[in-house]
């Protein structure tokens, strides 16, 4: 009963119209009456002891209405990590307090130690310069290996170590994996770095605090992928504001990519300041502040070993990783390098032994947390690079070595050696599709053409699996999550038949406003345009766990599905009452309730109206109204997978890499809106290519961020990228959610980095250069250096 624009239809996005006409409403576009402006004093040193912060002069500057320092928040709670990880020896992770404003010590360049509120932003910035901060610079902890080796120079003195935890997965597999590697006919080892990235959502963070002294209500308008979690953290942990007195509203938002999942101190600050001043307080991050204070991504240093038979059959993967968490634990920082990484270390393969050891390290750098892909890009990069190296060592074609080890279609559900149960997939079909779509057969001919033009051409192949819809509350609870990760939706059918759907997921580019109504309209047989999504406002929606981990449709969409099922069930009761039939005799199809074997029927719109203007409902059996809520807690992760191919040309004179083609063949299960899914993959590919070739968050030994602006941090531009070919026709439906969807938001960023690097190494090898690996970003200078010893 697919309505026009229902499931599977490439419906154009309705939200585009306001964005295309300048009518989007982003946080910084709100300026309540009497708004005051906040600017932060941020540390210029990476590690420093605060002797004193004298704000006397700043407080007397023109326009200044308040100045806050760390000690003003000494009594309130810290911003906690969401997952408690236990070390191999059974000890809990180290969890130093993350304060609203630094107190006692500053721990990274950009760490805010004071805030000024003034009538204008420029006045606030002027006053920040008048703060007299007496801070002794200490040696900085930057290099992770050094940080672990040195207990004398510490990020957090009170914990006596720079290690947060030492985690093993699966610890019971440790000995068997070691034994397997020891006895294996061939072992390939690779040391690699997963480069630190700065998310750089195009809209910098922004927060506006408001307080109503008449009611005691607080309102936080903020850039958040996760307004309910932000409210929960502020209420339960940081400021102790009662949840029912705090509304968190995240309006239109200019991207997040993970960096806006988390609660940040600036949000607490503007709320506390708004109450104290009894007027709105607004803070808008500059891009410079974003570089210094947003949570960064990745930053792993890894050694991976692949043990295999001479014929390429995988025997074991063993990984040792140091993962940087920066100066403080951001909300998801402990789960990202562990369960979102270690559990994927079997890849798409039937390898029997997997062991992963992750040591997380505090350093005097910005916090590191989930960034598009979050752990899975790190896992995929390690796996797919070492597999490529093994294939070369063994003289096996990179496609064949992967196929040889793929989990086969008849093996699902498949329990991987890294502890997950993959519900569905067909990795050979994806590789088949890729071989055709990327014309791998024509590669050699293209190589010849490139050589004629003086270029070295290479082909990179990759297959990936990822785990999306992070949710199963029972599972994540066992693994240390302090919250369940279900999601919720309310479907409200209004009296005149149009529908408001309140969803816990937040849309900031993902197109929920278009795609979610497609699901509802399809089920109800109505025009999608009569369905509207309400999101991002804790006062309007039941509860939500936000948007990250490619979970919106798989988890929240399933909640929408369940709530809509309840609507149909109740509407059937009403319809049966209206036509004086038994509910079991009433069928709902194409937007109409019809009594079997009769021509009696009633439309969905008439039922909706009746629900709100009843005169004769049997009140025991049918309540008035037509509104249903569902909380959906999935049974498992979803497992998108894919096969990617990339061709590059390397300029041997300069080392510059040009991407000639990038083909992504993905399995996302059922697709609600192919236009949106394609766009999601293309965006992910661009970020993955950015990681592979361009982007790098680099600190010097003193903890200064060298790539601290867009003048030094290279964002992918239109002319850096090729045409991005995306295909999601080789799909296997997810077996455990009602829509059969898997999640597409991160795939491109997960699958593309090893594809690109594999291609570059292939090009160099074909060109006669014995180069086994180049760390990302594979910049021209690095390529040239690798080629020239």
């Amino acid at each position: 009963m697919a309505a026009d624009g229902g499931m599977g239809h490439a419906t154009k996005r309705r939200e585009d119209v306001r964005f295309l006409t300048g009518r989007g409403k982003y946080t910084d576009d709100y300026t309540p009456a009497k708004t005051s402006y906040c600017a932060f004093a941020r540390s210029t040193v990476a590690n420093g002891k605060i002797n004193s912060i004298d704000t006397t002069a700043a407080a007397e500057m023109p326009g200044v209405v308040a100045v806050f320092k760390g000690e003003d928040f000494a009594e309130v709670g810290g911003n906690p990590a969401g997952w408690a990880i236990v070390s191999r020896d059974g000890t809990p992770m180290q969890e130093p307090k993350r304060p609203v404003l630094a107190h006692g010590k500053v721990r990274h360049v950009g760490d805010a130690y004071a805030a000024v509120i003034a009538e204008t932003l420029e006045q606030a910035m002027d006053a920040v310069e008048a703060i007299d901060a007496d801070i002794d610079e200490l040696d900085a902890v930057i290099d992770m290996a050094g940080a672990l080796a040195n207990d004398n120079t510490l990020v957090h003195d009170e914990i006596g170590t720079n290690m947060c935890f030492d985690w093993g997965w699966i610890e019971d597999n440790r000995a068997a994996t070691e034994e397997a590697i020891k006895n294996a006919p061939h072992v390939t080892t690779l040391k690699l770095v997963n480069n630190r990235l700065v998310p750089n959502a195009l809209e910098p963070r922004c927060s506006i605090g408001e307080y109503d002294p008449g009611t005691g209500d607080y309102r936080l308008t903020t850039t958040s992928q996760n307004p309910h979690l932000t409210r929960l953290l502020i209420s339960a942990f940081v400021l102790g504001i009662a949840e029912n007195k705090l509304t968190v509203h995240s309006p239109d938002m200019g991207g997040g990519f993970g960096s806006k999942i988390y609660h940040y101190g600036e949000e607490a600050l503007v709320l506390a300041a708004a109450k104290k001043l009894n007027r709105p307080v607004k803070w808008t991050s500059t891009r410079t502040e974003a570089f210094l204070s947003d949570a960064h991504g990745r930053d792993h240093v890894t050694k991976i070993e692949l043990a295999c038979e001479k014929d390429g059959t995988f025997i074991a993967f063993r990984t040792e990783t140091m993962a940087n968490v920066g100066a403080y634990l951001s909300n998801f920082s402990t789960v990202t390098p562990t369960f979102l990484h270690g559990t994927l270390m079997a890849g798409n393969y039937t390898v029997p032994n997997v062991y992963v050891n992750v040591k997380t390290v505090f350093t005097n750098t910005a916090p590191v947390d989930a960034y598009r892909g979050a752990g899975r890009p790190e896992a995929t990069f390690s796996l797919e690079r070492v597999i490529d190296k093994a294939a070369r060592e063994l003289g096996i074609n990179p496609v064949e070595i992967r196929r040889k080890n793929f989990v086969k279609p008849d093996q699902f559900p498949y329990a991987s050696a890294a502890g997950l149960e993959y519900d569905s997939g067909n990795y050979d079909a994806l590789m088949d599709g890729l071989e055709m779509r990327a014309d791998l057969a024509g590669f050699e001919a293209r190589c010849t053409t490139s050589a004629k033009n003086g270029k070295l051409r290479g082909l990179g192949i990759n297959s990936y699996i990822e785990a999306c819809g992070i949710a199963p509350s029972n599972l994540v609870g066992v693994l240390g999550s302090r919250i369940g990760l279900y999601d919720a939706a309310t479907v409200r059918v209004n009296a005149t038949g149009n529908i408001s759907v309140m969803v816990g997921a937040h849309s900031h580019g993902q197109g929920h406003e278009t795609a979610f109504p497609q699901v509802v309209a399809d089920m109800l047989g109505i025009d999608p345009m009569s369905v509207e999504i309400v999101h991002g406002d804790t006062s309007k929606i039941p509860f939500g766990m936000g948007t990250y981990g490619s979970r919106s449709l798989a988890v929240c969409g399933s909640a929408v599905f369940r709530a809509t099922e309840k609507i149909i069930k109740k509407a059937t009761l009403i319809a049966a009452h209206m036509v004086e039939a038994k509910p079991e005799d009433v069928n709902f199809t194409d937007g109409e309730f019809a009594v079997k074997g009769t021509n009696k029927k009633v439309s969905f719109g008439d039922v909706a109206l009746k629900a709100y203007i009843p005169h004769d409902f049997p009140i025991e059996a049918i309540e008035p109204g037509l509104e249903e809520t569902a909380f959906y807690d999935p049974a498992n992760f979803t497992y998108p997978a894919g096969a990617y191919a990339c061709e590059v040309e390397v300029d041997p004179d300069t080392g510059k890499v040009e991407i000639c083609s990038m083909v992504a063949m993905d399995d996302f299960g059922n697709v609600v809106n192919p236009l949106i899914v394609t766009g999601q993959v293309q965006g992910g590919l661009a970020q993955g290519i950015g990681q592979a070739l361009l982007e790098h968050g680099v600190y010097d030994e003193n903890g200064q961020l060298l790539s601290g602006s867009l003048m030094d941090y290279a964002m992918p531009r239109a002319d850096d990228l090729p045409n991005l070919v995306v295909d999601h026709s080789n799909a296997t439906a997810c077996t455990h959610n009602p829509i059969g969807v898997k999640g597409c938001g991160e795939a491109g960023a997960i699958g593309s980095p090893p594809t690109v690097v594999n291609a570059v190494i292939d090009a160099l090898q074909r060109g006669g250069h014995d180069v086994e690996h180049i760390d990302m970003p594979v910049s021209p200078g690095r390529v040239w250096a690798a080629m020239n010893g």
């Binding site: 197109g511 236009l675 531009r717 239109a718």
Partner: protein
Amino acid sequence: MPTITMNVNGAPVSVEVENRTVLSSALREGLGMTGTHIGCDTSQCGACVVHVNGKAVKSCTIFALEADGADVETIEGQAHADGSLNVLQQAFQDHHGLQCGFCTPGMIMSAAALLKENPKPTEAEIRDYLEGNICRCTGYQGIVDAIMAASGQSTAIAAE
């Protein structure tokens, strides 16, 4: 504080500014025209691109005083008078040339400037012209496709 007058999207306006006020602030805070966005502080991202006297400029990197007396066009003035999308805007919707929408105002204004200078750009010319506009969401594919389509050049719809 000085007052400047401009023709913004064809309508005369006056706005008080400081000497240090940049045009983007005059538009956003002075005139409440928040369609023009600020994504960086180094003149790299292009979210703030508007047209001043017919030329695309980064409105965060021109003082409002320098636009005194100028004709300024912003994203708010691009749609047809009846509110419907113009050809370029429509192509962006058709080809999924935007996701979060934050870069979109600058992207549209730059693309409009391109098509004025070069009505039938090649794909490479489009990518080159957009050097000063960063999009973090789309991978630029939908944007390039949209501009090709808006210039009357066929392009496969991105969706599979």
